[in-house]
Subunit: 340 residues, 2 copies
């Protein structure tokens, strides 16, 4: 029997229908991580020595103890938005805006075959520090209203290059999901004078059934109204509206929580394709009492179909309480590492 | 260079970025139609003789001139919603509603290897008549607020069974996309005292660049703010708020338009996986001056990724004007049939 669940952080609904998980399957999604990748690929634009394939290098950090670079920020060659976007007139029926913005790639390591689940904590720390530095740098641009920071892992999750990388898109507008989330969070705050995600953290810690892991600065949960099997949210315990507010010590604990979550996910769904995104505040939201950023991991293991296209109601074929129990017991080693 | 385009029928935005179509690809989506399907599959619940695999048969139509049935309506064995959904209490933080509703499958032919592109016009006519009859029957249920009618073709579009079929889900609520669309259509009507889709039809007929095909009752267009390459809308020329308002003569012309569109799509994108959905009015909308139903076909040829997950902004890697030109010239034979 299915049920509809409401997400108070977005005002969205989802159908949770575990029975549908028994449907016949026509093939399984390809794994997120390619097995047996070479450490260097001569055709990969993100591998060292192939810089002629890149439009430009924006920033670089050193590698800990090794020669060469650790992380690198480059312009996206096939950018969704750019700074030279031209204005074009619409009509009385159809409105047009220029596709203005920044589209950057954060190359997470110089080695082609690295991945967040196998990197050292120091390497992940460097990646997250690069996230925050570029996030801050893009937000300084007066025209930028919102930054979307995301990672695609596996071709079934939209990754066109295997070399480990994340992306950032800075836009001149506040996109619809960011607007809807902020509106829902303000609504909640108006009614209760409390931040909805602070309430979610307190509720989940009390309840326990959807907690996956926890450290001093972050709690990992399977959200009540998850849109996909094994969706996880990494929530900063200290109230922070904007990702740019994260402190240096918290970055280290986010590295621990992120690797822990990805190892559990990989063990539970056998290395699935996934996306993650940092849901942060739009310009001007920093310090707001009603907003609270999160890192949201969504495995791509169920294909949305005509029903979702017509209704906008995701169908999740797995109950978050069940997923959380499996994720908790998966990779018992992670739990120890998480405490370390 | 990309641009943002507004859809006046949904108030949604899309990034049109044809440059991104030059990205490297890690594999191409599997074709929507399986080549070399048998005419009968002993394990298929929709094949004649396998009725023991079905929960129940709801309705059946005769086949034209052949023994056996033509179309069949059956209960979905792995239903997303059902009539025996139980009430369960939520909490002050998390709201829950029962997953109440109807979930039916319209089996489009008794033969396992039929498809809408190869059926006769009479066969497609029978399928569409079954759509309307079941749509009307479900809307009569006092608890039903909205019916989502859709078709998934190919496993990459979410189809778990190859036997040709469509689905209908009747819900006790108006789902978010139906609500957003109706709100946008009312807004437009309030400002201009005209139906937005009637205006779209007039605009596209005048402009011509996004028209794919046309007959006496339907016009097929690549929409201005298409969310995917080769998205098509089949629009009834006569103002009709609700799919239940379609007249018998129009069903025949919808059969012609639908097959024409699917043949063009198959020729253009080499038999792609796709979804289509009938965007119709929620309960009480029939006869409304501001609402207008459509059949919307969305090929699943681009994988949405972390950006879309975080922003809610689809990126379309193809310009609708370009798609319309290719779809127009594809399968020149269709154009003749369309006139027939």
């Amino acid at each position: 029997m299915s049920e509809l669940r409401h997400d108070p952080t977005t005002d969205g609904w989802v159908i949770v229908a575990p029975e549908r998980n028994r449907r016949p399957r026509n093939g399984r999604p390809p794994p997120g991580r390619m097995q047996g990748l070479p450490s260097f690929d001569p055709t990969c634009p993100f591998c060292p020595g192939n810089e002629s394939l890149l439009p430009s290098i924006i920033a670089e950090t050193g590698s800990s103890g090794e020669p060469g670079w650790g992380t690198r920020v480059v312009a996206n060659k096939f950018a969704a938005v750019s700074q030279d976007a031209a204005d074009r007139n619409g009509s009385s029926l159809y409105e047009i805006k220029p596709g203005w913005g920044h589209h950057e790639v954060i190359v997470e390591a110089s080695r082609h075959d690295k991945d967040l689940v196998t990197m050292s904590k120091q390497e992940i720390h460097a990646v997250l520090l690069t996230y925050r530095n570029r996030y801050d740098a893009l937000m300084v641009d007066a025209a930028v209203q919102s930054v979307i920071l995301f990672r695609n892992r596996g071709s079934a999750a939209g990754a066109s290059i295997q070399h480990p990388h994340s992306q950032m898109v800075a836009l001149q507008l506040v996109p619809p999901l960011v607007e809807a989330r902020q509106a829902a969070m303000i609504d909640y705050y108006k009614g209760k004078s409390r931040c909805v995600l602070c309430d979610v953290i307190a509720h989940e810690q009390m309840d326990g059934s959807r907690i996956v892991a926890e450290n001093d600065a972050f709690v990992s949960v399977a959200p009540f109204a998850a849109i996909a099997p094994c969706e996880m949210w990494l929530l900063p315990k200290r109230h922070q509206a904007d990702f740019g507010e994260i402190q240096d010590a918290e970055i280290g604990l986010l590295a621990v929580a992120l690797q822990d979550a990805l190892i559990r996910l990989s063990a539970t769904l056998r290395d699935p394709p996934y996306n993650y995104v940092i849901d942060s505040a739009a310009k001007g939201g920093s310090g707001a009492p009603h907003l609270h950023w999160r890192l949201r991991i969504v495995p791509q293991v169920v294909t949305p179909a005509g029903f979702e296209l017509g209704s906008g109601l995701p169908i999740n074929t797995s109950a978050p309480e069940h997923d959380a129990a499996v994720l908790r017991s998966a990779a018992a080693d992670c739990a120890k590492e998480m405490d370390a």
